[in-house]
Subunit: 503 residues, 2 copies
């Protein structure tokens, strides 16, 4: 192993196997792990924990930054190691266990988890298992492709297990900006005043006595899997690009827009790709996850700077970008998710936030998490941190799901993650509804006219017209408000019989 | 009129009657008015506008801080002056017009309205009508018993009408701290770091050329009407006080607690009164509205300092407090509502936020605004600003409403203002549920065990047990989720027939 990776030499004695490290974790412990949207997760010790649990069953509370690489949550779930899991996940096996009620999942705003830990509302944390690119001379833990919650976990946990990942480029050192807010109620302002503000250190300072074990690994992050843009994602992107153009024309924004946040996934990627072709320039990002499209925009020179908490790339991009990360280092920073998602900073910078909805309703309430109000998909993630405090809060979704059996625009969402108060703009492949300064009845007309797929438009309009007869500030036919979801459950489609005949 | 009230003498020429001032406002204009929870509202010009509209019909968009004195919204509604109204109201006549769809009401987080105005998403604002205690030599507008949105309205509106209210004590001058955040995206941190931080000026600096008219008035604010504490509000207060005691015992808080925010109304008042008897001391408030109980706590010395955006008192307290306001001035500050409710400051100070719910559900989602999901009561007000970013987000409500025909704890709320992510503690007269770090199924058990009235407990438990059979992270019987509300509409009570027989 290169000496540069563990520069505090006495720590070399703490190198053990993943199995040895995993044996330290005891039943009932609260364990923090690095990892944010597949990036920078601990890779060896969690799998060793799962192996151990086959022989020696034990359960833990697992707290991470966000989702982990593609195997970790699955393997831990299959080994029945997870009693409790927070604050986000996106693994199909774990998701099923959560929905069966086997794993208690606490779905949390991503900026808040370490606040709870710091104030003793969560914890105490027994172990933090953190992937690092290096440990410096003064016991600074250098994160890898994400910061997530790793910094606060490392500082607050009783003991640390470090995975030094030789497969992650040593040149990641210097990319991170580690700043920890001071204790409340005497906290100072967080001094980020622009996307490129650097306010902290390049590593996480810990007491070497806390490092219980070091494990050496060489495995890359799980690559992101992005679908190619399709007609719907392209249509969403182009509605949004046109909208930005109008905001510029009306003098509310200039061509550099405001700092951008974009959720993960195909649509966000398509929107960012769309920005590359428009008249916009000197863009900046203040986001959570930096994806392939961020680097395309940096390459074209349209994007000046990107701040995030993780870099999650497809396999091809990962090879290219991480092979040459120094080329980008002066235009990138990775921050703790508490800072990337901090309400204080989001409000201050005036962010344009673009996140994905599962469904929204005629009044602009958004469901990002629960199918039929009951089945968890992934979690709220950072969408609430951004949507609440953004300058513009935008939600996007395809107008239809499951081949048209589901309309993503419904009378009433079956679960609310973002209330109408936090939603400015809604976009589907059909069009864009600008809800700013509209009352609920006006919102409904804008959404029905612009967002719902034509195969559901008459059906939705019929609901709204009958609701109007019953009256109220936010008219509903309460007995039918969730009937579309019920119909999908019983008949397989949200279409009512009159509509089915026509379509 | 005392010369001290208009100290920029050339402005004396602009004194006109309320009717003359009202004639300046034209059909279709956007008008801002001072006023926050009855305090410091413009009193003469709005009524003159209503008189004028009887002969010369016209309509405006009316934007305020929050609710106005008890007649203003009623009279304007009856005169059909209001086309649009934001961001909050609490008048029965206006409420009915909103629910009939006659007035378009935009229900907004109270910290956000002036952000929208500043960024051109709302407005432009044609007139601001602001009550003032005085106009200084350098054209500083000195607010009266509230700041609300008055400062930004005065700065951003094209023209100003000032009501100098001689009925408000001249000694109010010096109480206010007027700070306006700088323009985004180059905004600086808001430098409030404790409840007593003073970061601005004592008046709102405006260009004298913008002052179109000055009207002299002498009328007091409408007094607050508080019900005497009853068995339920006392029970809620005592559950909460016991909870605070436990938090102190467990070392998460000390006896000075964290800065407190309390919503308006009887329950909040009872909780604050309860604090006076407990072991707590050196308390601080960082709230919106300062009520009678705030002054009791200041008088006993338990409360060191109170920061708010308005002072709303009962008639007896108003006479006593405003008659001797100098006694309190070094322990009080009134701020723009953008600052009293600012997410940045709320998160920084680690506020304990206590707000009132209409109803909440077994998973902890809170409805603060809509009866049966459709009929607006008042609006979300500042509850969202506080709940989202508080150190502890507490919602309180009586377990029953309408003599037991309504359970305030329901299977699924009919409207969501605060999602489960933003709710830590729920309290009713029955007890307190601590939801921190609980998964939905655990939340349901805690809420059913601790919060629901015994007359509905078996019925609610029955719902939950059947939902569990259907499964999901957040189990629901979707076809029955809103059935309690429907039953209340059709039969007059939420009780099902089996339950009715037993009770
Ligand atoms: C909402 C969210 C699940 C959408 O995911 P996505 O991959 O972008 O969107 P897709 O359209 O591909 O939908 C994902 C799945 O949900 C299904 N779906 C979409 N809308 C649906 C609806 N209204 N009802 C039921 N299922 C729906 C899709 O069919 C698809 O199913 P599949 O995986 O079986 O093919 C995802 O964005 C998310 O988890 N968001 C919350 C967290 C967040 O916003 N973070 C942002 C900060 S990073
Ligand atoms: C929620 C809110 C309406 C409660 O008001 P309150 O006066 O404290 O509470 P009350 O228990 O007296 O209830 C008010 C009315 O709602 C009714 N009510 C209460 N719970 C109800 C329920 N679940 N369903 C229907 N009606 C209900 C009461 O019967 C009462 O009706 P009445 O006026 O006809 O007697 C009020 O707190 C509010 O508007 N909150 C939103 C704004 C806010 O939180 N601001 C906080 C920062 S200042």
């Amino acid at each position: 192993m290169p000496a540069s990776r563990i520069r505090l030499f006495p720590l070399l004695d703490r190198i053990v196997s993943a199995d040895q490290a995993a044996s330290l974790v005891e039943d009932g412990m609260v364990v923090g792990m690095s990892g944010f949207t597949r990036a920078g997760d601990a890779k060896a010790v969690p799998l060793a924990m799962a192996r151990r649990a086959q022989l020696d069953p034990f359960k833990i509370t697992l707290v991470t930054g966000a989702s982990l690489g593609k195997d970790v949550d699955r393997v831990l779930t299959e080994a029945h190691v997870l009693a409790r899991r927070m604050p986000f996940q996106s693994d199909p096996t774990l998701r099923a266990a959560i929905n069966r009620g086997e794993v208690m999942f606490i779905d949390q705003h991503l900026s808040e988890t370490v606040e709870h830990l710091r104030s003793g509302q969560l914890g105490p944390m027994d172990y933090a298992i953190i992937e690092a690119a290096a440990i410096t001379e003064d016991c600074g833990i250098v994160p890898t492709t994400s910061v997530g919650n790793s910094a606060s976990f490392a500082i607050l946990a009783k003991k640390l297990i470090i995975e030094i990942n030789l497969g992650q480029p040593a040149e990641l050192e210097g990319l991170h900006d580690i700043y920890i807010p001071t204790k409340r109620p005497t906290r100072e302002p967080i001094p980020v005043v622009s996307c490129d503000s650097r306010i902290g250190l390049s590593s996480v300072q810990v007491d070497p006595a806390k490092i219980a074990a070091i494990v050496v690994t060489r495995q890359s992050d799980s690559p992101a899997v992005l679908d190619a843009p399709d007609a719907e994602t392209n249509a969403i992107a182009s509605h949004l690009i046109r909208f930005f153009g109008r905001e510029v024309a009306e003098g509310r924004l200039d061509l550099s827009l405001n700092p951008l946040q974009a959720g993960i996934g195909n649509i966000a990627n398509a929107v960012l790709a769309g920005l590359a072709d428009g008249p916009f320039h000197s863009l900046r990002m203040y986001s959570e996850v930096l994806q392939d499209s961020t680097f395309d925009l940096l390459d074209t020179g349209k994007l000046l700077f990107a701040s995030g908490s993780s870099i999650t790339l497809s396999a091809a991009y990962a090879e290219r970008i991480f092979g040459d990360i120094n080329r980008y280092k002066d235009r990138l920073v990775l921050r703790p998710q508490e800072i990337s998602n901090h309400p204080e900073v989001i409000r201050r910078l005036g962010i344009i936030a673009i996140n994905t909805a599962l469904e929204f309703d005629i009044y602009g309430n958004v469901n990002s998490t629960h199918v039929n109000g009951t089945q968890m998909v992934n979690g709220i993630g950072g969408s609430g941190d951004f949507a609440r405090n953004a300058y513009l809060s935008i939600f996007v979704t395809k107008s239809l799901a499951k081949g048209g059996a589901i309309s993503s625009v419904v009378p009433m969402v079956s679960h609310v993650d973002h209330t109408e108060h936090d939603v400015d703009i809604l976009v589907t492949d059909v069009g864009l509804a600008d809800l700013r300064e509209l009352a609920p009845r006006e919102r409904a007309r804008a959404i029905i006219a612009n967002c719902v797929h034509r195969s559901y438009r008459a059906q939705l309009n019929n609901y709204f017209e009958r609701a109007l007869v019953l009256g109220g500030h936010t008219p509903h036919v309460l007995g039918e408000a969730l009937s579309w979801h019920l119909r999908r459950q019983t008949t397989g489609t949200m279409m009512d019989s009159a509509n089915l005949e026509e379509n």
